[in-house]
């Protein structure tokens, strides 16, 4: 389905005519990786990520991408190889999901502590058990306390664009954190759309110089001990440890404005087809009495439902979270400024609060608003279940009802039989 090549010469001086092509989300991610010119990719196949790494392998085999590809024996090694590569100065990339992400958790947690600017796509997949190879956000949500930046995509174009931007974001000196680009398994991974390919020369200019290991390196020319033992109750151990953690939090906080500036720069360079809300998208929210909140590919159907409800006279809007980690507290606070009832749709479960994770995170923002906003958690789309326009009409209806009555302590299970 790929009808063009990466390296077609620009057709005009100012901005080349967009190269249009059809591709699935996994392929778009691979093309985005190629545009960012990593030195090293490490791969281990897992459904529904597989076609992404197959595409990468083919791009490299065809000489369209100059990167060392490591076919590691498992996800744990995938991430470990890349950590070694990054410490030696390589720009690095991989992709995984679900059980693969669980298996790599040990090096995963460590990546942000070492401040290594790795980029990893999570082609989101629900958690097992029960056994399932289908989409859901449980994998990415489960690791949200590990210090990685996580951005969720809505469309195939957004997958491609966000993938490229993720490399510059990760390597930004004020950030220096690993980045997950999350794209929904099944719906985005295999969903085919028309996309516009950004121009490689312009992407090169956008990316600037690679700067991976200026702060921590394994290099005989500047020998250092990476990760000496810290902590304990004596000496400067605890202070050292705290300095690491505070640094990670500062990088997270800085990421909010870096992400915002980067999305603006990207849209300015590549045009309106490449403009995406960096942190939080406000959709038909200006005079909305109530709103629904979404994440990832479900947003398309949700927007259709909102449009239809609007046409029927409902004052409903939509809030889409793009950047989940760091949580965009201020941007969400702004979006919620006029909202009097809120329905939050999650594709995963927060077992501790008996609700969705995004709902639970949002409660903190509602507290900061300083006024009571009734909010309801909806959980749907688990294990690949479809969230349709009809589903979102139900979400809209039940959220509107909160204007009249208190929300339930229980989540609404959207794909349940009852």
């Amino acid at each position: 389905m790929n009808t063009t090549t990466l390296d077609t010469a620009p057709t005009t001086e100012k901005r080349p005519a967009p190269q249009l092509m059809l591709c699935e989300g996994n392929e778009a991610a691979a093309l985005g990786v190629a545009l960012a010119r990593p030195d090293m990719v490490a791969v281990y196949p897992i459904t529904p990520q597989t076609s992404l790494v197959e595409k990468l392998a083919k791009l490299i085999a065809d000489g369209r991408m100059d990167a060392d590809i490591v076919d590691a024996e498992g996800e744990h090694s995938v991430l470990s190889v890349l950590q070694g590569g990054a410490l030696a100065g390589a720009r690095t990339y991989t992709a995984t999901c679900g059980p693969g992400l669980a298996f790599m958790f040990e090096p995963y947690f460590r990546t942000s502590g070492m401040r290594l600017p790795l980029v990893m796509t999570i082609v989101t997949r629900d958690g097992i058990t029960p056994q399932s190879v289908w989409g859901g956000h449980q994998d990415a949500m489960t690791v949200r306390e590990a210090g990685w930046i996580q951005m969720y995509c809505e469309t195939v174009q957004e997958v491609l664009d966000t993938t490229v931007m993720a490399f510059r974001l990760a390597e930004h000196h004020d950030v220096m954190l690993p980045v997950n680009v999350c794209l929904d398994g099944n719906y985005l991974s295999y969903g085919t759309s028309r996309i516009e390919m950004p121009d490689q020369a312009e992407v090169d200019d956008f990316m600037g110089h690679k700067d991976v290991n200026w702060h921590v390196a394994l290099d005989p020319l500047r020998p250092m001990a990476v990760d000496p033992l810290t902590g304990g109750s004596g000496g400067n151990g605890p202070e050292t440890f705290v300095r690491y953690r505070r640094g990670q939090c500062a990088g997270m906080k800085n990421a909010l404005h870096v992400i915002t500036e980067m999305h603006e720069d990207w849209a300015r360079r590549f045009g309106e087809a490449h403009r995406f809300a960096p942190l939080v998208e406000e959709y038909r929210l200006d005079d909305a009495e109530y709103a629904i909140m979404t994440l990832g590919s479900m947003t398309g159907a949700a927007k259709d439902a909102v449009d239809e409800a609007r046409a029927a006279g409902e004052k409903v809007g939509l809030i889409k979270i793009k950047t989940f980690s760091p949580f965009p507290v201020e941007a969400l606070q702004h979006a919620l400024r006029g909202v009097r009832a809120l329905g939050v749709v999650d594709r995963s479960v927060n077992f501790r609060w008996n609700c969705g994770p995004m709902f639970q995170e949002t409660l903190g923002v509602l507290y900061r608003l300083g006024r009571q906003v009734p909010a309801q958690s909806f959980i749907g789309g688990l294990a690949g279940a479809d969230l349709t326009v009809t589903t979102f009409h139900r979400v809209i209806d039940e959220t509107r009802a909160l204007l009249e009555r208190a929300p339930s302590d229980e989540p609404v299970w959207l794909n349940a039989k009852d």
Binding site: S80, A88, T92, R222, A225, T240
Partner: protein, 451 residues
């Protein structure tokens, strides 16, 4: 570090007392056929007088060119002195007052009165080319340099900080320092959790214990992280050695997947395992390299417990089955053997995966006196509990120090407290396992010989 020098080594098992060395010496030194003037004297031991004499009954009287020479100490005239360049004890005729005190000071009859001249005479090694050695028809005399480790290696920089916090008598520190001296400064060193970083190689709280770039990988991902490091330097055209000094637990248990994966992919890594047969740094827990019957803190001795109930995993043989570029076993009791293997492993690590498995007894965890570490390591080899060999895909597997007349394994086991509780049946099990292991490795070595 002081110098050490070449020496004339004597193997009594090969000497049949023919006296050709003495003839050669007398001829070269005095132009004489009188072998009593020879500076090397082969004498028959006291005791048995069965004719004809048999090998093993002869002893050597020859100047040992001692490092701490008593002849020099006792000389009142300053006529004897150790030559700093050659290592020979030089005798200065012009200063000698012929008191003969030196002949009493020497334990080896290495300096004696030459009745023809009326003065003392002693071996000067013929300026480094002793005439006696080529004259020996049986190979009982050899002029050997045992000193490479001290002379050549001693001049290389020790790339670890002084004062690593190893247990008293630990051979792992010895091994680490020697290995990194050899591998050199253009190295990235991985030391996964265990004794090696535990003694401070990666440092504490922002310090470092190593002069090359060093890091703590996870216990599980040493080979993978090194693979990434090495690949990136190859990509940018820089020659950097990627080396691991890992414990047996991290290699054979939880880190085995990444080790196996890296070996299968032929990652260009020098992977050295320090096998002290357990998780010693955390208090002596069992690993899959712990031998049968051994006490560890997780295989304790009690009303039901009799130590580990399984045999050790033979990790180096598993690595042979990965067809690595180089695989060898080594022991801290045989440093020359270890050095040769280190050289080969280092060279092989530029072509593919090189794996070096070094047995390093743990004074603390194996329960023996810290002064006996080398002794314990040597007994392991002499009893075939540990076999020393090397493997390459081209040449197959070969023993580097075959042991023809092994000690009973019980002699080795008795050297350590961790085996104190063993029943005769357990000892027999271990002896049988040693024999089985040996047969297994020998078979592979024989196949290599047939090729």
């Amino acid at each position: 570090m002081g110098q050490a020098y070449s020496t004339i080594a004597f193997d009594p098992a090969k000497c049949d007392g023919c006296g050709k060395c003495m003839t050669a010496c007398a001829s070269v030194k005095f132009d004489s056929t009188d072998t009593t003037r020879s500076l090397i004297q082969i004498v028959r031991s006291g005791g048995a007088r069965i004719e004809p004499p048999r090998p093993g009954e002869f002893e050597l009287a020859l100047c040992r060119q001692c490092a701490d020479p008593k002849c020099v100490t006792v000389c009142p005239a300053g006529a004897l002195g150790k030559n700093g360049t050659t290592g020979v004890i030089d005798w200065d005729a012009s200063k000698c007052v012929d008191c003969l005190l030196c002949t009493i000071g020497c334990t080896y009859a290495g300096i004696a009165l030459d009745e023809h001249s009326g003065r003392v005479s002693k071996c000067d090694t013929c300026e480094g080319k002793p005439a006696c050695v080529p004259a020996c028809p049986t190979g009982a005399l050899r002029h050997i340099t045992t000193a490479r480790i001290y002379n050549e290696v001693g001049s290389w920089e020790d790339l670890f900080a002084p004062g690593l916090a190893g247990c008293q008598g630990c051979n792992t520190e010895l091994l680490m320092r020697h290995a990194l001296r050899r591998v050199g400064p253009d190295t990235v060193l991985a030391t996964p959790p265990g004794c090696v970083p535990g003694m401070g190689s990666v440092g504490f709280n922002g310090t470092t214990g190593t002069k090359v770039p060093v890091f703590h990988p996870l216990l599980t991902n040493t080979a993978s992280m090194l693979a990434g490091v090495k690949r990136q330097y190859e990509r940018v055209g820089r020659k950097v050695t990627a080396m691991a000094i890992a414990g047996d637990g991290g290699a054979s248990d939880v880190g085995f997947q990444s080790l196996s994966g890296a070996a299968e992919r032929g990652e260009r890594i020098l992977f050295m395992v320090v096998d002290n047969e357990g998780y010693m740094n955390t208090g002596m827990q069992r690993s899959s390299c712990t031998p049968y019957g051994a006490w560890t803190s997780t295989t304790p001795i009690g009303a039901h417990g009799r130590g580990k109930t399984q045999d050790a995993k033979n990790l180096p043989m598993i690595m042979v089955n990965h067809r690595c570029e180089y695989v060898a076993t080594a022991s801290t009791a045989y440093m020359e053997d270890l050095y040769e293997k280190l050289d080969k492993a280092l060279a092989a690590s530029e072509r593919g995966f090189a794996y070096l498995h070094v047995y390093s007894p743990c004074t603390t965890g194996w329960r023996f006196q810290s002064a006996l570490n080398i002794e314990v390591a040597r007994k392991a080899v002499e009893s075939n509990f540990v076999t020393l060999w090397e493997y390459t895909p081209e040449a197959g597997l070969h023993f580097t120090r075959p042991v023809d007349k092994p000690l009973p394994v019980a002699d080795y086991l008795k050297a350590m407290g961790r085996f104190r509780h063993l029943s005769p049946e357990q000892v027999e099990h271990i002896q049988n396992k040693v024999a089985e292991n040996l047969r297994f490795v020998r078979k592979i070595a024989e196949q290599a010989d047939e090729q």
